[in-house]
């Protein structure tokens, strides 16, 4: 079956946009083909700095014919209706229509056959629309045509279009269309410098091969592989090791059509700068890789660059040029680093008094004071030394004011650690500088040192408490202060370190201790909230985040709900037992005892719901032992009494497994009760008593979780 080749050749496309653009092109073209009844076999899209290309194979040569029926007027309808029907369907007379009977009478039916069109004609209509509506993140106008409104926009000027369609065995046809004066054809161009001439192409196979001959590697993955393999090889040849950097590989592969990997070096004296600073300098500014000595793990004075040409001097000029650029960059970095070392971190703090954190939440200096206070309160709860924690909290953000962090914001925290160590701070105080920012995202590691934990929690909780207090909360997709990330960070730090911290108490205390009367008053008068309400709302936010987090870990949503109903953050319960409960519930429900108890409990609840609704009252009182008629009732009562206290005790000791096995003991008594006892007894007093007994099942299980929230 025929295949389509499409290439959009332009000036340099930003590297970061190429992958998505290739994907968008494939999606848009294939979606349209399918919508037009042209079901294809396969498609693949590619991007280089100067072109987007797409191949779709196995496209039928024609659309299928379409047969539709159209219902017309009743037999004997007025002439105007008949004429309208004929006109709309293209029939010459009613003789060409069928007649169909249904309940309302006999109707004329027109059979309309729409023959399928040639695929190439359909494609010629599809492509210009896709090109004109292509979703570039930012697009532009250019050239003489931009004088008129409605001119084509593209990411950078679009120069030519290749579009061919046809069978493998035949000379393909050009898909005839034009967009804003650019006619689709069969001509593309090779590498900008090494083979700039025009190339005539037929279909994907010769297109890719001819491009390669013209020094263009079409497939981004192939370019990445070359860069990584050659860079490793170059490093290996010198007994060194490439510091791998997939993000940089992605970017660099989008800057070249013909990657040529080379190694350069810089003066050894720059190796006194911390490795991360060297790497940031070379990577961010020059898009080059750094290289380490595998024996020491430290960087060496080499770097790896990726050029876009094979130069006649084997790249000597290019390497020398890159070395000349890197030298002053490293020289600046060294100067920044050495300048930073001359000022102690604590001497930088007064400057924070001039820097506003948020207009309603005061200066950075005020914020640091709040964090210090809260961290000191958390310290004993997590086993951290209070004095060290206070010192760590005070210094943790001081590196924001250093030259190196000004230049490379991504090194915040890490530089603080280096500077703290350089001025002789305790190791855990220094570490907190880096660790308190963590975790930055769902896959980042969480701090484990107690001092870092205390500062990290204090930092995040202060942020959340502050923004909740001034009512700047995330809405929909808007979360400018990354509050969701902060909340998830708190949750992960607590869970992964299994900290027995009560969040609600901590937050309420922080409101009262650190935010002073001015905030509390503002909140009370303007929004008519109390601190307790805000704490509740913040806890509910934490619960939302917890649910999202647990769902990502494939925990069942209903189990989370069931566990929260038995004891929530809003009610002041600590976090770890809630999650343990979810896990224990999951395990329990995987057992026969669990499943049957759930079924029994649900049955009890269903009966209660129906009967309580009928009787318009809730059966909450304890049952009367004198009204029991059967052995099963008496046994159930006794079992509930025993298991309930056992389960409660286990829960109070955070022994969830114990609580579950206590509940499991309920199962035979519940089963026996339902097997042999009729709840709705004719004697209203016996019935009432049995309903009360059912309620006892419900409340016994609620000591562990709200089983009614569990599905199944």
């Amino acid at each position: 079956m025929p295949e389509l080749l499409l290439e959009l050749f332009s000036e340099e496309i930003p590297a970061r946009m190429q992958a998505k653009a290739a994907d968008d092109l494939r999606r848009m073209v294939t979606d349209k083909l399918v919508a037009e009844g042209l079901v294809y076999e396969g498609a693949k899209a590619f991007a280089t700095p100067r072109r987007l290309a797409l191949t779709v194979h196995g496209i039928p040569a024609r659309q299928p014919d379409l047969k539709t029926e159209r219902r017309g007027p009743k037999i004997g309808a007025p002439d105007a209706a008949v004429q309208g029907f004929l006109k709309a369907t293209g029939l010459n007379s009613l003789d060409e229509a069928k007649i169909q009977k249904d309940a309302k009478g006999d109707f004329y039916i027109a059979l309309i056959e729409k023959p399928g069109r040639a695929a190439i004609d359909v494609i010629a209509e599809i492509l210009p629309v896709i090109i004109r509506t292509f979703p570039w993140p930012k697009s532009m106008r250019w050239g003489a045509r931009s004088a008129k409104s409605g001119s084509l926009t593209w990411v950078r000027p679009l120069h030519s279009i290749v579009a061919t369609f046809g069978l493998e065995t035949e000379e393909p046809d050009v898909v005839k269309f034009s967009v804003d004066g650019i006619e689709a054809g069969q001509t593309t161009y090779g590498h900008r410098f090494m083979a700039p001439g025009a190339i005539s192409v037929r279909r994907f196979e010769d297109y890719e091969a001819k491009l390669k001959a013209a020094k263009v590697i079409l497939d981004p993955q192939a370019r990445k592989d070359i860069i990584v393999d050659d860079a490793k090889e170059l490093a290996f040849a010198q007994g060194l090791e490439l510091v791998e950097d997939p993000v940089l590989v992605d970017e660099v592969s989008g800057l070249v059509e013909w990657p040529v990997v080379m190694m350069g070096s810089f003066e050894k004296e720059f190796l006194v700068i911390p490795d991360e600073v060297i790497r940031a300098t070379i990577r961010n500014n020059q898009k080059c890789f750094v290289v380490r000595d595998p024996k020491t793990g430290k960087l060496t004075n080499k770097f790896v660059l990726t050029a876009n040409i094979e130069a006649p001097d084997d790249g000597k000029t290019i390497v020398a040029g890159n070395e000349r650029v890197i030298r002053p960059r490293l020289s600046d970095a060294k100067f920044f680093y050495e300048t930073d070392l001359k000022t102690k971190l604590e001497d930088r703090l007064p400057k924070f008094e001039q820097i506003v954190f948020h207009e309603k939440l005061g200066t950075q200096a005020e914020r640091i004071k709040r964090i210090e206070k809260l961290a000191a309160e958390i310290a004993p709860l997590v086993g951290a030394d209070v004095e060290k924690t206070k010192r760590a909290a005070r210094l943790a953000k001081a590196d924001l004011l250093t030259e190196v962090v000004g230049e490379f914001p991504e090194l915040q925290g890490l530089m603080g650690k280096y500077y703290a160590l350089a001025q002789g701070e305790d190791a855990s105080v220094a570490a907190a500088s880096e660790e308190h920012w963590k975790p930055q995202g769902p896959t980042d590691r969480v701090p484990t040192d107690p001092v870092s934990i205390a500062v990290a929690l204090a930092d995040k909780i202060d942020t959340l408490a502050g923004f909740w207090l001034i009512n700047e909360r995330p809405t929909g997709s808007k979360d400018p202060f990354a509050l969701r990330r902060a909340a998830l960070g708190v949750i992960r730090i607590i869970l992964e370190n299994r900290l027995g911290i009560g969040l609600r108490g901590l937050v309420t205390d922080h409101f009262k201790n650190s935010f002073g009367k001015e905030y509390i008053d503002v909140v009370d008068t303007k929004n008519d909230w109390k601190v307790a309400d805000i704490a509740d709302q913040l806890m509910a936010f934490f619960e939302d985040r917890l649910e999202v987090q647990l769902r990502e870990q494939k925990a069942r949503h209903d189990l989370v709900e069931a566990a929260l109903s038995a004891g929530s953050l809003v009610q002041g319960h600590p976090l770890v037992p809630i999650v343990d409960r979810v896990e224990a519930l999951g395990r329990f429900l995987d057992t026969d005892d669990g499943r049957n108890l759930l079924a029994g409990t649900k049955r009890a609840e269903n009966i209660l719901r129906i009967e309580e609704k009928k009787d318009q009252l809730a059966y909450l009182e304890a049952p009367d032992a004198d009204l029991y008629q059967t052995e099963e009732e008496r046994r159930l009562d006794a079992t509930i009494l025993a298991t309930q206290s056992e389960a409660r005790e286990a829960v109070s000791k955070n022994d969830l497994a114990g609580a579950m096995s206590a509940l499991a003991k309920l199962r035979p008594a519940v089963d026996a009760f339902f097997d042999r006892v009729k709840v709705n007894d004719d004697d209203p007093n016996v019935r009432k008593n049995r309903l009360r007994l059912l309620n006892e099942i419900r409340s016994a299980t609620r000591a562990v979780a709200d089983f009614s929230k569990i599905e199944g």
């Binding site: 106008r141 003489a144 004088a147 660059l305 130069a311 000029t317």
Partner: protein, 311 residues
Amino acid sequence: MDALPDHMRPERSFQGFILALQRFWAEQGCVILQPYDMEMGAGTFHPATTLRALGPKPWNAAYVQPSRRPKDGRYGENPNRLQHYYQFQVIMKPSPANLQELYLKSLAAIGIDSAVHDIRFVEDDWESPTLGAWGLGWECWCDGMEVSQFTYFQQVAGVECAPVAGELTYGLERLAMYVQGVDRVYDLNFNGREGAEKVTYGDVFLQAEQEYSRHNFEYADTAMLFEQFKMAEEACRKYLAAGWREADNHKEHLMALPAYDQCIRASHVFNLLDARGVISVTERQSYIGRVRDLAKACGEAWIHTETGRAV
């Protein structure tokens, strides 16, 4: 080029380097202008770019523009930071289809051969909040060094560019250093001579860098500058208001250029105040906004002048 005496070759002398660029762009049909006679932060501020980029009439020009960045002064002590340096500016409206090729040829004309050097177009979206302008384009890299800015103007002075102009800006000192193979800007050979006849960039500009750094950071009279900013702003508005006329069926403006001069002045005075550190972070935004308002009003006036309007 072979007829050039050695001391005029672009890789030998800074002045020869500039002349080679001028000659190249003259051959592409650009008018070669002289620098605008006012202090400004970049070649883009020259009315030959800012104002001429607006309106439908074709315009091709190239010129050197001394650029003042008061904050970038380093008392002559940094090997490549200057508070006064040269930009070479090319503007072509509408942007020709082969502008990238022309740019690469211009590099060849100053001794950068793209067969030996790794030339790259790296995404850089340009925006000037003071001019109410933006465009898309690249930083042009030569062996890892940024040597030019390449921009397709989409909007200038708040007005959509129709047609779009292409703008090239070369950092002359940096490029010349690369071509001459020197690591310190003050070591650039300015006149291409050797021995006693040689004049370096340092001979010409080092003292100026030292003196202006002192001025920009320590002594510039801030009370006067605050006053000057206000005066320039008022004058700009006054000239703009006075320039509007009702002509048959349309409005026209008769004083866009003098008004725009005052906008240039306000912008430079703001840069001086900023270097003196007397403008707070929040005030900064408001000053930039005030200059932008002037630029926009000037752009609006310009497209109602003889040169700026649709035919």
